[in-house]
């Protein structure tokens, strides 16, 4: 079970452009779980605190605040907010900490980044763990339409009106997003402290530039991104996890599984986008079983 653990080491890592990011290291040994959190624009707290407990099972765990988040630098140049640049940043962190081959765990946006990283630096991976993420954004967007539609046609028409007029701060629009967030992002009535910390410091710069204004409207530079046709090149063992109520839906997860040569898929029935907090008793055994089977590669 997750708990908040102080990192054993904190690293300032210089990256391209003269910026620095901050990485957090827990435990030691040859089996490193390297965490890429979602957002983009979120500090790594919510994913770090959910996985630092893997040290209890002999794993080293590394997470980092991506550029623009948490303790990393916060530049405002929107040209920095591209998935290609984040791939290089990820590689620079791996090199700087001398992590060798890693179990790369990407959640949500961290999964998109993980897929892109795996295609760019395939030799850096032992395994790839894709949690609550997708390989095909246009397919995801069609799935989000389905989730929005469950709020009824009048609600959808209202949302589309505010989206067309750019009045997304209107309380009526925000109310619809709030209902969807508690349904498809985290189904807990009270969101865990690490989730709140990450959300409270959300940098909307990278999020708006790459994804969009909220979880149910994609307008950023990733909206046409689709790596399904290339995912056959990712030959390491892959674990895909998703929640039945996940905003990045089980259909998105299945699409990745069918594209990957060596993938297994687990869907948590009472979870949405954060099974590690929503169903921890079901989540950790699945993750540990996969990791234990693929040690020492």
């Amino acid at each position: 079970m997750w708990r908040e653990i102080e990192p054993e080491k904190t690293h300032e890592v210089p990256i391209d452009g003269g910026f620095k990011v901050v990485a957090y290291e827990f435990g030691s040994g040859d089996e490193t779980v390297f965490c890429l959190n979602g957002g983009p624009g979120l500090a790594c707290d919510y994913l770090r605190e959910a996985h630092s407990c893997l040290i209890d099972h002999g794993y080293r765990v590394v997470a980092f605040d991506q550029l623009g988040t948490g303790k990393a630098d916060h530049p405002t140049d929107t040209a920095l907010w591209t998935i290609g640049r984040y791939v290089e940043e990820t590689e620079q962190v791996r090199q700087a900490l001398n992590l060798g081959k890693v179990h790369l765990l990407g959640h949500s946006w961290g999964g998109w980044l993980g897929i892109e990283y795996a295609l760019t630096y395939p030799q850096a991976l032992k395994t790839l763990i894709l949690e609550d993420t997708v390989g095909d954004m246009p397919h995801l967007i069609s799935e989000l339409e389905r989730l929005r539609a469950a709020l009824g046609p009048e609600t959808v028409a209202m949302m589309q009106r505010h989206e067309a007029e750019g009045t997304l701060e209107h309380p009526e629009y925000q109310a619809a997003v709030t209902i969807l967030n508690y349904r498809h992002v985290c189904r807990l009535d009270e969101w865990p402290a690490p989730v709140k910390r990450s959300l409270d410091s959300w940098n909307m710069g990278p999020y708006g530039t790459m994804q969009g204004p909220n979880e149910f409207l994609y307008t950023g530079n990733l909206k046409d991104w689709n790596r399904i046709p290339r995912m056959h090149k990712i030959t390491v063992p892959a674990l895909i996890t998703t929640g039945q109520h996940d905003e990045l839906t089980p259909a998105c997860a299945l699409k990745m599984k069918l594209a990957l040569p060596d993938a297994e898929l687990h869907c948590f029935p009472n979870s949405s986008h954060m099974p590690f907090y929503e169903e921890p008793h079901a989540y950790y055994p699945v993750l540990l079983d996969f990791l234990n089977r693929h040690k020492g590669r």
Binding site: L151, G152, E154, T155, A175, A176, T178, I179, Y182, R183
Partner: protein, 308 residues
């Protein structure tokens, strides 16, 4: 000080100004309420606002312009609201006591017969008042109200259901737990409010002023935690079988999207011996703000036909 909202062609949507006369009315129990009168003349329109627990600002402001058409407008802050006393005694929050309060106001101002306009809760209280003191009623406007709360609750289920079955299940779960403050539950209520209470991007100032003075314990005791969940003492109230006693002309008003739905209006109309109905197609619960011209025209058309 006068505040107004005026359209480009000079149409006054609402107006707030000091009353031409104010009255402190003593109620039984030693409490006082404040009443406001505008204009003069023998044709009195008495306004009774909704809530319960709201100061009268929101209903008064869009009706002050009818003073220019020759009507005297009288309204009061109901006990527990606005400039009236704010006792902290839950036993006061009953329909029967509010009926006596209305009678005390009309009696104190020496208003023998009035055109009685009740909005929402003001309609429920108005119906009960008219059944108790029928001799004071010259005519009646039942605006965005209902006479049969169990029927209304069925109608509200229909409005909630339009948010989808998973949303309804979520609302029912929080209602069962008594947690009406959770952000997901409040979000569903917000969505319904913008759809069925006021289809406007922002609250007009008099509405915001009334909301700022909302005495929620009164609302909770009589109605419930919000417009879509009735837990209070009114929830079994039904006067449909008494409306045949309304011998005076009665105008029923509803918005097509009204939380107190057009079906609630029709239910009253069918029981009224001398009723007529107007449904405002682009309005919900506040046609005087949502379609102010059409509303004013319909109201004055009715009132002008009732002049004695």
């Amino acid at each position: 000080m006068t505040e107004r909202s005026v359209l480009a062609d000079g149409f006054v949507v609402w107006e707030e100004r000091p009353a031409d006369a104010t009255f402190e009315v003593a109620l039984g129990g030693g409490h006082k309420v404040k009443a406001y009168a505008y204009g003069d003349g023998s044709e009195v329109v008495f306004l009774l606002n909704g809530g319960p627990g709201l100061p009268c600002n929101y209903l008064r402001a869009p009706h002050l312009p009818i003073v220019e058409a020759g009507y005297r407008v009288v309204v009061h802050d109901q006990l527990g609201t606005g400039a009236s006393d704010h006792p902290d005694d839950p036993s006061l929050w009953t329909l029967e006591r509010y009926v006596e309060e209305v009678e005390a106001v009309l009696d104190a101002l020496d208003l023998e017969r009035v055109h009685f306009l009740g909005h929402s809760w003001g309609g429920w209280c108005g119906i009960e008042y008219a059944l108790t003191y029928p001799h004071r009623i010259a005519s009646m406007v039942l605006a965005d109200t209902a006479a049969d709360i169990p029927h209304l609750l069925q109608e509200i289920e229909r409005l909630r259901a339009a948010l989808g079955s998973e949303t309804v299940a979520m609302m029912q779960r929080f209602e069962a737990m008594g947690n009406h403050a959770h952000p997901a539950y409040k979000a569903a209520v917000d969505l319904l409010d913008f759809r069925h209470i006021r289809r406007l991007p922002e609250r007009p100032k008099p509405v915001a002023d009334s909301r700022a003075g909302f005495n929620l314990p009164i609302y909770m005791a009589v109605q419930g935690p919000n417009e879509y969940h009735y837990t209070g003492s009114i929830r079994d109230w039904n006067r449909i079988d008494q409306l045949h006693r309304f011998t005076w002309p009665t105008l029923v008003i509803q918005g097509q999207h009204d939380v107190l739905t057009p079906a609630c209006g029709m239910h009253m109309l069918n029981a009224l011996p001398n009723g007529e109905i107007r449904i405002f197609q682009n309005s919900s619960h506040s046609p005087f703000y949502e379609e102010p011209r059409a509303y004013r025209r319909a109201l004055l058309d009715f009132l002008d036909r009732q002049r004695v």
